[in-house]
């Protein structure tokens, strides 16, 4: 949140778009990197497990507004402890599971608990994504199961296929729309004079917009 607030405070001019840090979470080989690669480069390849974190940026235009996604794609489990710090400053999380693996769905619920420990309610926009709809025949998690869980925890939900490029861009766009909407509400609040205290605000860090 920190950099978003800052972006809004300093960036009253529409020129530097808001930067949102988006983190992909989920078990090994559910297709996190594939989703990111499809979205950012419209490319698909059978990839090896990610090493550490991969980083992408993407400009998004929703309605009249535009924003910049900084996408952090983290290796599933291996760097769990090391990558904990990448949660920090995230405004958006894509929680990915593989519809052909019940285990990955359960793990996603575990990740969500971790997230709830890390963030204030409503601080991050979380979207649950069931990937690999191209393998519908091997499906172990039904659409309803996913949707029900997402609704019970007030998450956005989508099923997608990075391989077939099905619903990938839509999912990211929905996330972007939600982020912008929440941002507007927050600005309204701030203008009404209810200053928000962000408990999680870390030490001052480099403003992302100025990095370039």
């Amino acid at each position: 949140m920190a950099q978003v607030d800052r972006a809004l405070r300093h960036g009253a001019a529409p020129d530097p778009p808001c930067v949102f840090k988006l983190v992909l979470l989920g078990s090994d080989s559910v297709g996190k990197s594939s989703l990111a690669l499809r979205y950012v480069k419209d490319d698909f390849r059978s990839m090896l497990p990610t090493v550490g974190c991969a980083f992408f940026t993407k400009m998004v235009h929703v309605g009249g507004a535009s924003l910049k996604f900084e996408i952090w794609d983290m290796a599933g489990q291996k760097y769990h402890s090391v990558c904990r710090l990448y949660f920090r400053g995230a405004s958006s999380v894509l929680l990915v599971y593989d519809i052909t693996s019940k285990g990955s769905f359960l793990r996603a619920q575990q990740w969500l608990r971790d997230l709830e420990a890390e963030f204030l309610p409503g601080e991050v926009v979380v979207m649950l994504i069931g990937n690999k709809t191209d393998l519908d025949k091997e499906r172990q998690v039904t659409f309803e199961e996913g949707k029900e869980f997402a609704e019970s925890r007030r998450l956005l939900f989508a099923e997608a296929s990075a391989k077939l490029n099905h619903q990938v861009t839509e999912a990211f766009t929905a996330e972007a729309r939600e982020l912008l909407q929440r941002e507007e509400e927050r600005v309204d609040q701030t203008q009404r004079g209810t200053p928000r205290v962000t408990l999680n605000e870390g030490p001052p860090r480099q403003a992302k917009c100025c990095a370039r």
Partner: protein, 554 residues
Amino acid sequence: MDAGGDTTAPAPGDAEDLEATQFSNEAAGDSGGGVHKDPPDPGDGGLEDTGSKAKDQLPGELSSLPQSEASSGTCELWSPTAPGSGPMGGLESGPGGQGGDPSSGDPSDEDWRSQRKHVFVLSEAGKPIYSRYGSVEALSATMGVMTALVSFVQSAGDAIRAIYAEDHKLVFLQQGPLLLVAVSRTPQSAAQLRGELLAVHAQIVSTLTRASVTRIFAHKQNYDLRRLLAGSERTLDRLLDSVEREPGVLLLGAVRCVPLARPLREALGALLRRCTAPGLALSVLAVGGRLITAAQERTVLTECRLDPADLQLLLDWVGAPAFAAGEAWAPVCLPRFNPDGFFYAYVARLDAMPVCLLLLGTDREAFHAMAACRRLVEDGMRALGATHTLAAVAGLSNAPSASAPAYSVQAVGAPGLRHFLYKPLDIPDHHRQLPQFTSPELEAPYSREEEQHRLSDLYHCLHARLHSTSRPLRLIYHVAEKETLLAWVTSKFELYTCLSPLVTKAGAILVVTKLLRWVKKEEDRLFIRYPPKYSTPPAASVDQNAHNGFFTGL
């Protein structure tokens, strides 16, 4: 049990004898070196004593183990049961009745057994972690036997180092809670195999750090380390493949450079030196696993020099396909520098070229600073006009073998010369910080895997003879079946040449003279003469971070 008894191999001395006789057809003796056939290497024999002891005592012990089924299955893998047929035939026709043995249930069994060299990594508790071939699950019984061998010898207050079983060598290496085993029928010496196992261990440590491996197993002895190593298996596979495809790296303990005109290389070095960020310790430009140039932080790395093994590890690591897209940020440990601490590595391809930039720093939050640094490097390269040259260097590679920029042996202009490895030793003092070697691409007749293996084996043999602990040699002229080789080590260089089989001794000397003259002439292009150094901005917080990065574990 009988299977255990079958592993009884010739005494270590005999094994060495066998090795020595492989060289019986070598035309010994030369004006320079005075080559004689070596007697069995007593030094090595001494080393393997523990192995022979273990072996002598083993059969009884194994049969008394509860999992005798597993032991029988495994021992048969490596024991030539039917001396009449070839070793592999004997193995496959081994007695049945091991339906329960998972390794024989492995569909790839035949392939599995016919591999030249196996490498296994397991935990002290016998939990499989890595196997070069086959699925780790199917091999748990095999690995159980390895644990049994090790712990049996351990219980006698000794350590097992190697077993010589007819045409196989089994080399054991214990590193903390990890046990590494090589089972090989290549002519590599036990010392060389041990070097490979050390490289495998270094690769594992680089992703996890030694401290965290130790801690994990202290906490939970039967932890399944594969969970943490997911993805590293492919890196290990590539590492072991490269031993046979590019034997120089591990054999010579040196890195291979991309040949580049000296002014350009120095300009790139200067560029890296200019583009720094707080906490940056090392910048590397590489392509296809080979070094273009590397700049080091002066204060960080002068006292603890950068080990070529660490640099090579980084070169192998950034060559992973996982780094092909986007920018990556990952912790990495340099085992020789400090096996217990992480550096943080920024890896990106430059300008969509296969050229890769690695920025290694001590600050785990420095991603954005490193990304800014990369943009500076990119801009600088464009200003230098280096992009085009480097793309050409990298592009050239795509034709013969996958992304391996180098030169043809034809460039030397010495007919009869097929391949060589050259490592300079007469380097200025500061230059010694970066051992390098050069070698042309493998070309016909070494285009097929089989031929490459043969050449690699020959190089390994010659290397073992030159560096024998008991009786080192300086010059070997070896007439093999399909090629003639000349290996020569002086105070100025270490050289291995592979020549056509019809060359005469005088002809070979002529070729080598020509080669040496060529290397001298091309020296500036082939090697990095003056590795650049820089000093990062002295920020108070940087020091703090540096210490965190270096001296604390996870």
